[in-house]
Symmetry: C2
Subunit: 103 residues, 2 copies
DNA sequence: GATTATAATATCGAAAATCGATATCGAAAA
DNA sequence: TTTTCGATATCGATTTTCGATATTATAATC
């Protein structure tokens, strides 16, 4: 079976969405997933965590482990390089969306 | 190597984009690809044609072969079922985009 | 009427992305 | 020192995407 059209759409801009959020405040995997879920969208941990790792490896995010009530969280915040990429990407994405679809 | 953030975004809504166009006028693979190219985006035939096939198999598009100056084109137009799906998808996609990203 | 040219579609094996399930981690509590 | 638990990490299987190559069908050329 294949993924739904909307799920594909969500996956397509998940990186932009992560950068967008990590620009506002530190984010971590579990909460990020749950926030999406609240909106009615589901993304697997097997997809999500590797995306965080990739964005960090590419230097767009940087992480810091924190001990919250005895549990370890890995908070990600955007880097300067990440901000540049986000800036470009969000402009392009908006353009593309309007241009090719919404008019 | 991985695909670029914008390319991923494009791929994410390629089906919606195809349905959207096929709702306005008949579309065929070659021209569709070239139109994207004019906008600066590239998608492989190995990706594009199977997507058309899938959308047809799912009953969202229906095709008709035509002889244009001795060359065969397969024109796709949207079906009633496709219109329903497009309607739902575009609303959801817009919502999702605004909600999770643009505000 | 056989051969060549060509616009367009179709397909294939390899690479990448995604999933869902399971494993691991690390500190606190028991 | 064992158990608990929120959270991250990873694994094999499935699905998607790519770029290259093959195929199709007609027109033009000889």
């Amino acid at each position: 079976m294949s993924y739904s059209i909307i799920h594909e759409f969500l996956l397509g801009f998940i990186k932009i969405h992560i950068l967008y959020h990590a620009d506002k405040e530190p984010v971590f995997g579990q909460a990020f997933k749950q926030e999406l879920k609240r909106h009615g969208y589901d993304i697997s941990y097997g997809t999500l965590y590797p995306i965080f790792h990739t964005l960090e490896r590419q230097g767009y995010l940087h992480s810091k482990k924190e001990n919250i009530k005895g549990k370890i969280r890995k908070y990600y915040t955007i880097t300067t390089k990440g901000k540049r990429v986000l800036q470009q990407s969000r402009i392009k994405a908006k353009e593309l969306f309007d241009e090719l679809f919404e008019k």
